[in-house]
């Protein structure tokens, strides 16, 4: 074998703390290395060209590049060696940036470490074999999980381009958080007027199948061929018969229940349609609120329903679908703000969240679009907005900026003056963060045109005095204490990943962080991909974002889905397990551990042997570590290859 080694400077990223020339020089003396050099930027066009030329000039049969993480550029360099005429698996990478130059400051140890990592890569490469990917058919259908604005956009874009789409929404209606909003910044557009027609488009599109009030039960398979089980939760209403007339809601005797859609403002009947523009506009019975399910004699809804749609006996239903790609768009939830004792921790009726305030402002909300104090129904004249509640606060484990609160607070201050012209708004803020088209102008309008008083400082306490609330805080610009008497206090509560995100991530086999946000493939270059092939992200499930960004990401995820499924055949990863039938004793241990049922028992002239279904094998190597004979080996990560790396390190 003739090996070429290329050590990348990565500008000064590597070269500043690793003696790159020394690494290249030492690499030149390693076994079977016939050419070793350093390069300023191995991934640049001249860098890749130099690799191609060297392959040809020195008739190289394998290439090692020591540069950044293989998670970053392995695919890039595999294409390079392929262009030069080599099999793309005759390539290894040594990670001397993320794992060496960026985490150690001393050149001496860093250089030794880089040399050793290169040696390990060379020794592994010596045992690499050419691998040929197989073609396999893909299902040209996409699953979108979450029917908020990002999921709606992704669904519509995919469907418009000719793909079949299955949209799954856990709530009875699609629309997500945006459907709860009254107006949107910075144009003060009516939220339901923009979103409503898109929701109708989803319902009417011939290529979109909508499963509302449903959840993902399980996901199996792999890119191009996922099998997904959807749990259609029992609505206790036959949706094929329900016309959404609302008679049942009117007649239901159990009316004083927590209203989820209205964030607990007002109350809901046990049988309910969340809001007038709901898609689908179908009733759902909440068993925990329903008298019938509590063993009381009721069934009034069934008596009055003109189409006989009520069915208290209904059970959850499981539906299995095949899809080629999955877009997760599960959005966010408000962080728990009741941890703040200083804001009353939910004890005062007139301290509400910004999302509750939206429902108050909405004409279809519980207060008919009138701003009222929840405690006594009076119109508030003094409204205090507190920013950065459960945002930018490491003390409660929420160190990040939620990003959209500054803007919606400015909008809410504007709306307050619009609704109650003689009202005064106060905004306690830390910094105003308004980077976006027309955003900063908007926050200025709130102050200059609508007279909102912005106070830079934190609030130390909210407490009742008479029937009012006193907000005490600091004005850091004046360097003084301030006290504002408020009729209503609105907390700009930040967001966190949806509470069910972790469970879904486990089903999708994607990563998530400690705030419940899904991890993108690369923070810059793969913002909507994940590290699981065929699973994409859209909207706030990846990190909080406002409506324009969520929509952009919905379209981006759709573009990625379409690109993936634009081909009828996908290439499978050939890094799969291989059985050496001479060594296989047919014990079947590999069959037991395989998470994908990719191994089966085959009969070979009367002897039982393991057989790998290459199209199904995902390359985890569990079987390899289990096989008592070492008969089943994971290509590209064989026992010998791993041990070659160990030996390269310990006994060079």
């Amino acid at each position: 074998m003739k090996i070429g080694v290329f050590i990348c400077h990565c500008g000064s990223n590597i070269a500043a703390t690793v003696d790159v020339k020394k690494v290249a020089e030492t690499a030149g003396r390693m076994a079977e290395v016939v050419y070793a050099t350093d390069a300023m930027y191995a991934c640049s066009e001249p860098g890749q060209q130099a690799i191609e030329e060297a392959v040809k000039k020195y008739a190289l049969s394998g290439v090692v590049v020591a540069s950044c993480s293989p998670r970053m550029h392995e695919a890039t360099f595999r294409r390079t060696v392929e262009r030069a005429g080599l099999n793309r698996y005759m390539f290894e990478m040594a990670n001397i940036r993320e794992h060496v130059s960026w985490i150690g400051r001393d050149q001496g140890p860093n250089t030794v470490k880089a040399i050793e990592l290169v040696r390990m890569a060379v020794e592994k490469l010596r045992l690499n074999r050419a691998l040929i990917p197989r073609k396999l058919p893909a299902t040209r259908r996409a699953l979108v999980i979450g029917g908020g604005v990002a999921g709606i956009q992704a669904s519509l874009d995919c469907a418009e381009a000719g793909l079949e789409v299955v949209l799954v929404e856990r709530e009875p209606s699609i629309g997500g958080k945006m459907s709860k909003l009254d107006k949107t910044f910075p144009t003060v557009d009516c939220s339901s007027c923009i979103l409503g027609p898109r929701m109708v488009d989803v319902a009417q599109h011939e290529r979109i199948t909508l499963y509302a009030y449903s959840e993902i039960e399980s996901v199996s398979g792999y890119v191009g061929n996922f099998e997904v089980v959807i749990r259609k939760k029992a609505a206790y209403v036959d949706w094929d018969k329900c016309t959404g007339c609302g008679l049942c809601i009117e007649k239901c005797p159990s009316k004083k229940n927590f209203d989820r859609f209205n964030e607990g403002l007002g109350s809901a009947a046990a049988i309910n349609i969340p809001f007038p523009q709901a898609i689908p506009k179908k009733a759902v019975i909440r068993a925990e609120d329903c008298r019938q399910f509590q063993g009381k004699k009721c069934g009034i809804c069934a008596k009055f329903c003109p189409t006989g749609a009520i069915n208290h006996e209904q059970q959850d239903e499981l539906v299995t679908i095949q899809v080629g790609a999955i877009v997760a768009a599960t959005g966010y939830d408000l962080a728990d703000w009741t941890v703040y004792g200083e804001y009353g921790a939910g004890r005062y009726a007139d301290v509400i969240t910004s999302l509750q305030y939206e429902r108050m402002l909405s004409a279809s909300g519980p207060f008919g679009g009138h701003i009222k104090r929840p405690s006594n129904g009076e119109e508030p004249k003094s409204v205090v907005f507190i920013q950065c509640v459960a945002s930018r606060d490491p003390s409660i484990g929420r160190p990040y900026c939620s990003g959209f609160c500054c803007m919606y607070t400015a909008k809410q201050a504007i709306m307050t003056r619009d609704h109650i012209p003689d009202s005064q708004s106060y905004v306690f803020y830390m910094d105003i963060r308004s980077p976006g088209k027309g955003y900063d102008e908007f926050t200025r309008r709130a102050q200059e045109e609508y007279g909102a008083q912005y106070v830079r400082g934190r609030v130390s306490q909210v407490y009742p005095r008479g029937n009012k609330l006193v907000v005490r805080g600091a004005d850091t610009l004046l360097g003084s204490q301030v006290e504002v008497e408020a009729d209503l206090v609105v907390l700009a509560v930040g967001g966190e990943g949806s509470r069910e995100a972790a469970g879904l991530a486990e089903k999708l086999r994607i990563s998530y962080d400690s705030f419940g946000f899904f991890l993108e493939g690369h923070p810059k270059l793969k913002p909507v991909e994940t590290n699981t092939a065929g699973v994409f992200l859209a909207g706030s499930c990846q990190g909080l974002k406002d409506i324009p960004f969520s929509v952009s990401q919905g379209s981006a995820a759709a573009a990625k889905t379409l690109a993936l499924l634009s081909r009828d055949m996908l290439e499978s990863d050939p890094q799969t397990a291989q059985v050496d039938i001479k060594r296989c004793i047919g014990c079947g241990k590999c069959i037991q551990v395989c998470p994908f049922q990719a191994i089966r028992e085959a009969d070979l002239r009367g002897q039982s042997k393991a057989e790998v279904l290459e199209a199904v094998c995902q390359g985890c190597g569990l079987c390899n570590a289990t096989c008592p004979q070492g008969a089943i080996q994971l290509s590209h990560f064989t026992d010998n290859q791993v041990l070659a790396e160990v030996e390269a390190l310990l006994c060079p």
Partner: protein, 158 residues
Amino acid sequence: MSVSSTVSGAAAPELRIVGFLCNWCSYGGADTAGVGRFIQPTDLRIIRLPCSGRTNPLFIAKALLQGADGVLVSGCHPRDCHYAEGNFYARRRLEVFKQLLPVLGVDPRRFEYTWVSASEGQRWQMVVSKFTEQIHSLGPARRLPGAPELEWLRESAG
């Protein structure tokens, strides 16, 4: 110049620590730590595997018998495996293996397994620093007679 200073500040000579890391989580976590410039001791050499479940305990045994001063395996948090259940197998195997180490004449503290996700750069820094410190407190492992020395490499690096 001799290779002597670890970045943790202690001027102890570097020891041999081998890491077997899952590509989907801990390897990414180590990348995240690098991108965040979370400075770590330099003793660890990482071998990338597709899954912690790919770790054959014999890899670890072989590394320890060939003179490694410590071995660290890191995978995805339980229930969060890229391959659904690979890390459950890893956990069971590695725990049993750890119990067995005294039989091999190896101090079980020389081997640890841990779970670090791709987003947990800081956690990775902590894991590496703590484990390296633990290995340094144990000192160099007993070398088997005839085990090769690494002096020539140190010299070649100047």
